[in-house]
């Protein structure tokens, strides 16, 4: 179980490869990657702010919960902060379990919780200025299924 918070880009392929190769008892690895979406070419950059200390605690607790609930062999979360450009990877989640159902469910759980319970805030910069991204009701509602 590893968590990395970083300003620098990460290499998705290399991270996924290294994660999969480190697994001995797993039969399934699921990875998810979130990208900076360019809304119709209007976005020039995105800035991600976070709460150092609480971010690590909150995500660590989510990962512990996921590991216990789905008997994960391993999990990895990488989340960037600072200034990102359209198309860049914001974050990735990887989960490893004996079977795929557990790996998929745990990855979805971690994503749902990262969206609404990890202290990150996104600000979008475009031609018309900058705006903080509003939380979506659908993201909050997604937590009820867990």
């Amino acid at each position: 179980m590893r968590l990395r918070l970083q300003a620098e880009p990460f290499a998705l392929g290399a991270e996924a490869q290294a994660f999969a190769e480190a697994q001995a008892g797993a039969g399934a690895v699921v990875t998810f990657t979130g990208l900076v979406r360019d809304n119709a070419g209007q976005l020039s950059a995105m800035e991600i702010e976070h709460y150092p200390g609480m971010t690590e605690k909150a995500i660590g607790a989510m990962m512990d919960q996921a590991q216990a609930r789905w008997a994960l062999e391993d999990a990895l979360v990488i989340h960037r902060h600072g200034r990102l450009l359209p198309g860049e990877a914001i974050m990735m989640v990887a989960t490893a379990a004996r079977h795929r159902a557990e790996a998929f469910a745990a990855a979805e759980f971690l994503m749902d919780y990262l969206k609404s319970r990890a202290p990150f805030w996104k600000k979008e910069f475009g031609a018309d200025g900058a705006e903080w991204v509003a939380a979506r009701d659908a993201d909050e509602a997604a937590l009820t299924r867990w």
Partner: protein
């Protein structure tokens, strides 16, 4: 003394990332009322508490939570990670 932190648009509206506050506030709501009475920029930032979240010592909490023993209070908008 407690350390008060602000993030995202709360930080921008108040104009500070953090400050030390001398307070006798019993609850988070009391602290918000105290800060809002100080200056307009605080009142403006805390005008709509439905869009403000609070963490006490880095754990999500609520506005009616007591402040006794708390060292760090953080105010921020709903989170948008992932």
């Amino acid at each position: 003394m407690i350390e008060v932190l602000y993030f995202a648009w709360l930080r921008e509206r108040i104009g500070l990332p953090r400050e030390r506050v001398e307070t006798a506030a019993a609850t988070v709501a009391d602290l918000v009322a105290e800060l809002s009475a100080r200056e307009d920029r605080y009142a403006l930032a805390f005008a709509d508490l439905a869009s403000v979240r609070v963490a006490l010592d880095q754990e999500l909490s609520s506005f009616d939570a007591p402040l006794a023993g708390v060292r760090e209070v953080a105010f921020f908008p709903p989170m948008t990670g992932g």
